[in-house]
Structures are given as structure tokens and as C-alpha cells.
């Protein structure tokens, strides 16, 4: 049991050390101020304890210098903490370019995870060590939150849109994965583990699964299953724009504005097709809302992404 008398969680990501350092600093500041206050209260309370009922203590109305001192010193300290904390926060929101992508769909009450190579897992996430991983996350129902304490990362998964997060594991092993946002009856059972492996072991794991079709291939099937290609054929005079090579590009819209084609835009175009129509096309696409699940949507997105890399259909 004493083995479990832990005070600090394991550090297993590049971020963990940074967060902990700031945390220690905050502890130091807090211990300093609370000891100061407790000490003063103790000293005053003992030294100036009431000795007789009709004591007349000397009255001190206040002192401007002191007031300023104890306003400004904490102010400066907090501003240091603010900048420090904000830096970490922004770093944790800027995934490196070479991050490996994984798609996560939360639903009551499980985590559904898809790798670009097509592996799917439930409530487990296998990743290689020392490799940045970026998660693109969606949910089928309510808000969930993807939380890996050992990595010090957490991000809500919000219905109606994608959210993203990233981390880089620095240690192999198994780590808790929790759902941190209350999501209904089995919220506390919406847990799992992140398995961090050596790259070789990870490759083994990748090839061991049953379903080995890459995500984009599954996506392509879905693309055909929903008959997307009848309109989005890559040839002139199609009813819909060609999707080849558009991912990551900026395209012009009907209303003169332009948008960058990203995951969110694809999602919106499938579910609310006529809100941002590409220039030169008519708003004729039917909505697929209610027909396509978040999981399939991510697969289709992966397919469209793959078209950007020079693939074609």
C-alpha cells in the first residue's frame, strides 16, 4: 500500500516536465505567502493576546506604502506566472509538423480510436514513443474530455465540431486514459489506457491487427457508398467540385469569400453543404446529416486528405 503513497504523477510526455516545473514554482509561491500569513497571525495572536478587559490598544488606521507593497508584489508574481503558463498552453496547442495523426471519436461511454493505417481500437491508444501524435477528435453525442494525466494533457471533445490536441510520449508503458468531462451514467467507466511502445514494437502492433486497410481506403469505400463520386468526379462539368488536391488549399466561395479546406470545412460541407458553396457551383448538394456517423466522416476526411498528396481516383 505504501508504494501507492505517491504525491506526484508520472512524467511521461515532453509537456509533463514543463507543467510540473511551473507547478512547483506555484507551490513555492503559495507556501511562501501562506507561511508568511500564518506566521504573522500566530505571532500577533500570541504576542498581543488580551491581558485585561479594559486594555486600550494603540489604533493604526492604515499605511499606504504597505498597501501598495502587498498589492504590487503579488501582481508582479502573478504576471510572471501568467506569461509562463500561457507559453506552456500555447505550445500545447501547436502540434509540430511531423505529428502522426490519430482520429478519436468519443461516445457514451467509450473511446473509438482509428489510426491512419486503418487500425481501430476501443478504449486503448497505441502510440510510438518519442513521436509527436496529433489527435483529431469528435463525439457522437455529448461532451467528453480526453485526459491522459501522465502526459498532462486534456481536451474536451465537443459535439458539432472537431477539437484537436497533441503530445509526445517520452516513456514506454501503459498510462491512464480518462474521460474528464461528466457525460452521463457511465462517465467513470469511460476509461482506458494509452500504450506507449518502442517504434519497433509499435510497428509489430500495427501489423498484428485484423483490419489492416488504411483509413483512406476505408474512406474511399465510404465515399462511394454515399455516392459522393457521382457529383465530385474529377472531370470537367461535374455537378460538384473535384476534391483532388484541394485539401489544405484556399478556395473561393460563391459569396466571394475564401476558406481554407481543412477537416472542419469538410465536415461542414458534408453536414451543411449549402452554407459555404465553392465558387462556380450551385447549392444542390443534399445534406448527409443523420446519415453519416462521426467515424465515417473522419474516414472520408482521411480519404480526401490523401487526394491532396497526389493520389487520384
Amino acid at each position: 500500500m505504501f508504494k501507492e503513497f505517491k504525491f506526484f504523477p508520472e512524467q511521461a510526455s515532453t509537456l509533463a516536465g514543463e507543467v510540473d516545473l511551473l507547478f512547483y514554482f506555484l507551490i513555492a509561491v503559495s507556501v511562501f505567502f501562506s507561511s508568511l500569513i500564518f506566521f504573522l497571525i500566530y505571532v500577533f495572536a500570541v504576542r498581543y493576546r488580551r491581558r485585561s478587559e479594559d486594555e486600550k490598544p494603540q489604533q493604526i488606521p492604515g499605511m499606504l506604502k504597505l498597501e501598495l507593497a502587498w498589492s504590487i508584489i503579488p501582481l508582479i508574481l502573478t504576471m510572471i506566472v501568467f506569461v509562463w503558463g500561457a507559453t506552456i498552453y500555447f505550445d500545447s496547442y501547436t502540434p509540430p509538423k511531423d505529428a502522426m495523426e490519430v482520429y478519436v471519436v468519443g461516445k457514451q461511454w467509450m473511446w473509438h480510436i482509428q489510426h491512419p493505417t486503418g487500425q481501430r481500437e476501443i478504449n486503448e491508444l497505441h502510440i510510438p514513443v518519442n513521436q509527436p501524435v496529433k489527435l483529431t477528435m469528435a463525439t457522437e453525442d455529448v461532451i467528453h474530455s480526453f485526459y491522459v494525466p501522465a502526459f498532462r494533457v486534456k481536451k474536451d471533445v465537443v459535439p458539432g465540431r472537431y477539437t484537436t490536441m497533441w503530445f509526445e510520449a517520452t516513456k514506454t508503458g501503459e498510462f491512464h486514459l480518462f474521460c474528464a468531462e461528466y457525460c452521463g451514467t457511465k462517465h467513470s467507466a469511460m476509461i482506458g489506457k494509452v500504450v506507449v511502445q518502442e517504434p519497433a514494437a509499435y510497428q509489430d502492433w500495427l501489423s498484428g491487427g485484423t483490419q489492416n486497410e488504411p483509413l483512406e481506403v476505408i474512406g474511399e469505400k465510404k465515399f462511394q457508398q454515399f455516392a459522393c463520386q457521382t457529383c465530385h468526379a474529377d472531370k470537367p462539368n461535374s455537378r460538384g467540385p473535384s476534391l483532388v488536391g484541394i485539401f489544405g488549399e484556399s478556395i473561393k466561395l460563391q459569396n466571394g469569400q475564401s476558406v481554407v479546406v481543412d477537416e472542419e470545412y469538410i465536415r461542414e460541407s458534408v453536414l451543411e453543404p449549402n452554407s459555404k458553396v465553392a465558387a462556380g457551383y450551385k447549392p444542390v448538394m443534399p445534406t448527409f446529416k443523420g446519415q453519416v456517423s462521426e467515424v465515417s466522416l473522419l474516414q472520408i476526411t482521411a480519404y480526401i486528405k490523401s487526394l491532396a498528396k497526389g493520389g487520384s481516383n
Partner: protein
Amino acid sequence: MSQHVIPTRVYYTIFLALMVLTSLTVWAAFQDFGAFNNVVAMGIACTKATLVVLYFMHVRYSSKVTWLFVITGIIFLFILFTILMGDYLTRGWQVLPQSW
């Protein structure tokens, strides 16, 4: 009770102004001022509201405390609007990964 009595003439003037402004806003709604459509509509509405507050509600003749209350209400409303829209307008700016 000690209270400033506003002559009825003032009330009629304000009333007239409100009616004119109402017609104006309806008229303006059918014109196209491009980006200024909303500005015009809201500008007129704010003018009307100000007239009502100042004259019908006597704030122009009221104590400083009343002014303070009115202004506080409006300021906090704008705090709500501004910060809230601050979120919605900058959400798209998420530092997006340039991995593609």
C-alpha cells in the same frame, strides 16, 4: 414630492421624434448600405432608446445615482457581448497544424 415636472410639450416632441425614427428605420431596412446595414439599424434603435430613457424615464433630470445604475447596466451588458464575441470571432484562429 420634489420631482422635476416635465412640460407635456417635451413629451410630444419626443414622441414625434420616435415615430419619425421608426419610419426611418423601416425605410432604411429596404435600402442597401452594404456593411452599414446593421450599423444604421442599431444606431437608430439606440437613439430611440436613449430618447426614451432620458425623457420618458426622466433620467435626464434624475440624480447621479440613477445615471450610475443605467450606465452600469449597459456596461455589463457590453462586457457580456464583447467577451462572448471575442470567443466566437477568434475561434477560427486556432493555431492550426501545418502538417499538410
